[in-house]
Symmetry: C2
Subunit: 431 residues, 2 copies
Amino acid sequence: MCMDEVRKAAERAKLASLRLQSMSTQVRNSALKEVAISLKRNEAAIVRANQIDLRNGEENSLAMPLLKRLKYDHPKVEESVEQIESLIQQEDPIGRSISKTELDDGLVLDKVTTPIGVVAVIFESRPDALVQISSLCLKSGNAVILKGGSEAKETNSALANAIVEGIMRADEGFKDAVQLMSTREQVRELLDQDDLVDLVIPRGSNQLVRSIQDSTRIPVLGHAAGVCHTYVDKDADVEMAIKVAFDAKCQYPAVCNAMETLLVHENVAKKFLPLMAQRYAEAQVEIRGDTRTRELINAKEATEDDWSAEYNDLILSIKVVSSMEEAVEHINRYGSHHTDAIITRDGETANRFMDTVDSASVLWNCSTRFADGFRYGLGAEVGISTNKTHARGPVGLEGLVIYKYRLSGKGHVVADYAGDGAKEFTHRKIK
Amino acid sequence: MCMDEVRKAAERAKLASLRLQSMSTQVRNSALKEVAISLKRNEAAIVRANQIDLRNGEENSLAMPLLKRLKYDHPKVEESVEQIESLIQQEDPIGRSISKTELDDGLVLDKVTTPIGVVAVIFESRPDALVQISSLCLKSGNAVILKGGSEAKETNSALANAIVEGIMRADEGFKDAVQLMSTREQVRELLDQDDLVDLVIPRGSNQLVRSIQDSTRIPVLGHAAGVCHTYVDKDADVEMAIKVAFDAKCQYPAVCNAMETLLVHENVAKKFLPLMAQRYAEAQVEIRGDTRTRELINAKEATEDDWSAEYNDLILSIKVVSSMEEAVEHINRYGSHHTDAIITRDGETANRFMDTVDSASVLWNCSTRFADGFRYGLGAEVGISTNKTHARGPVGLEGLVIYKYRLSGKGHVVADYAGDGAKEFTHRKIK
C-alpha cells in the first residue's frame, strides 16, 4: 500500500462510517453476530497463523510474557466470541436522546448521540485487542483502521480477514468499516489525515502513546503514564492501609493502575512504615525512600527521578509528608493524573483530597488497581484516558460516541425573533 | 513578559485553577458578583480606555463594522453586568453526579463533573467576549488566559484589571485565575504549554482558528468554517422553502450559521427557483449557479471553488440535484459539518437526511440561523464547535466541564476479586 493508498483507504473508511452510522441497532448487532460466526468458522486458519507468529517470536527470542500475550488459540477464540455476544446484549450507545428542548411552539431541539466517525487504533502485542476494539467500533457505528504489532502480523491479518468476511455478510457496504494496516510508514501517513480520521487510540507502551501524541493533530485518547499514589493519612486505619497499599503495589505491578509512590503522614509513619516494609519485604518489593522514610525503615535513597517514575515492577518510592495538603501537592506535581488514593477514617479529609487531586480517578480506602473499565462496570474498555476533554478515566463505549443537534420546525425563521415586538423563545425542557 | 514568564504565568494559572476547582458554588458565584460590582465601579476607566482604542481605530482607518464592534460604553457595561447576573442564577455545572454505581457492598463509584483546568482564549475585536468568557470560566471553575485583538488593547486591559480586582475581593488566591496576554509571541509560547493548558478556544476569523489548530497539541474547541446548506426537497412546501431559505441567507449573512449553498431537487426547481430568485434579487443577493440552475434563472456560473466557499456576504451558490442522496453527498463532501437543513413535508425523508448528514446541527423545516447557543437555550455560548470529540455544535458551559471518578471503599482490594472462589462485582446502578 503506497502513501496515496493510505489516503484512499481513509476515504473508504469515512464512507463506510457514514453508512454504518445510518444503520439501525439491529443491523449493527447482526454484523457483530456475523463476526462471531466468522471467527468460529475461521478458527483453524487463525490458530495456524498464530502458530507462525509464535514460532517467529521464539526464533527472535521474544520474552516469555510477550509470547504468552501473543498466543491466540481455541480458548481465546471462545473468549472473543463471548465478548462479542455480551456486547450485542449491551444497550445501543447511539441514537440516544441526551436532552430535548422546545425552543418555541413547533420548534423542537433534540440532542442525540452519534458515532464519532473513523477511529484509528494502534496497538501492541495482544491480538485479542484487534477483535475487542473492532467490535466496540462496530457496536458504536464507527469505522476503524487498525495497526497491530509486527510480532502478531499473521494472527492480526487472519483475524481482520475473518471480521471483514463477517461484516460483509451483514452488509456489503460495511466492507471498509474494518481495515488493517501493516507498516509504520502507513501509520505515519494515516496520522496526517486529520480531515478523515476523527480519533486515535493507542494501546501499548508509554513510548508508543507519546510518539503518537507528538505526531498528529487528530485527538488522541489514552494515557502516556500511570504514576499512581496512595496517601496514608494521619487518621488512617493502619491495618487497612497495609492491606490496600500492598494490593496497590503487588496484586499486578506491571499495569498502569498499580501504585508507584506511597505517601505517609508523619504522625502515622512510625507505626505504619515498619509493618508495611515487612509485608513488602516478603513480596520482594524494592523500596526507595526519602530521608524521613530511611530513618524508619531500610530503603535505598530515592532520587528526584523516582517521584515521577513508572516502575511497572516490584519497586516502590516512599515519602513521609507533614500534611494531606503536602501529599496533594506532591501528587499534582509528580503524578500522571491517572489514579490516586487516600486511606483515612476522616470523611472530611477524604473529600478534600478527592476534590483537590487533579486525577481521572480519586479513591478513598481502596486499591488503585480498581481503576479499570471492567471493575467500574463499563463493560469492555476502550482504554484509560488522562485527557481533560472528551473522556477521562476508564473509557467504555461512551468514549466512541459524540452527539448532534436535530432541530425540527414548521418553517421557523430567525427574523421573527429579532427586533421590536419579536417572538420569544420558550426554552422548555421536554422529559 | 518574556518567554520564560509565559510558562510561569501558565503555571500560576494552573495553581489558581486547582484552587478554583476546590471551591464551593457559593464562592465561585460570589467571585462573579464581585466582578459585576467591579465592572460598574471601574466603568469610567473602562470607557476612557475604550475611547483611546476607538480613536486609534479611526486613525488606522479600521472598517466601520469593526469600529462598531469595538465600542464598549455604558450600555455595554450594563449588558455585561446583566449577563454575569444571569450566569450566577444558572445551575452549577460542576460537582454534578453523572452516574453512581455500587461496585460491591460498601464500594461506591461516583462519576462527577469537574472543571477542565486552564483554558486559553484567543479572540478578536469585541471586548465583550473578554467579560463573557472570563465569567463562563469562573462559573465552571476554570482558570483562563486571554489574548484579545491589538485594536482593543486598552479596553481589554481595563476590563481584565477590573475583573481581577473583583475576583481578588472574593478570594486572594483567585488572582491568577484570569490573566491577559498582549503579544502574538506570548500566545505562540502559550500554545506550547500543553502540560499546563488544557483547552484552547479561538473566537474569530477562519484564518485565526486554522492557524491555532495548526500550531498546538492542546485540544482546540471551535470551527474553522461555516459552509451551511439548505436542501429543498421534491416534497417541500414551496412557500415555506422560500421563507426559510431567504432567512438563512439574508437575516444576517456575515455569520457562520448563514447559508452559503442552496441545493434544490430537480422536481421542484422549475417552480421554486424563479420565485426564490425574485426574492433574492430584491435583497440584492448575487447568485452563482450550476448549469441546471442557470437554465431556470439568471445566475453567474458557479466554479468548483464556490461549493466550498464561505462568502459571509450576500452571495449564494445554487445547485440542482436529482435526489436527496445526492444532496447529502454534496453536503458531506463540500460542507464544513457545521449546520445543514432540509425543507420537506416528508418526515421519512427528513429523518434520513438528518441521520446521514454528518454535521453538528441538522435541521428540518427551519433556518440554519437557529444554530446558536442562545437560541438553543444553552445560556451564554463558549462558541460553536465542529469537532467530533468533547463538544459539538453550539457549546455552553458544559463544554468547559469534564468529569472525574470518585471511588469510596472500606479497605477493598482487587486481590479479593481474582482467582477461584473470588468475590464478584454487583455493578448495581444507584439512582
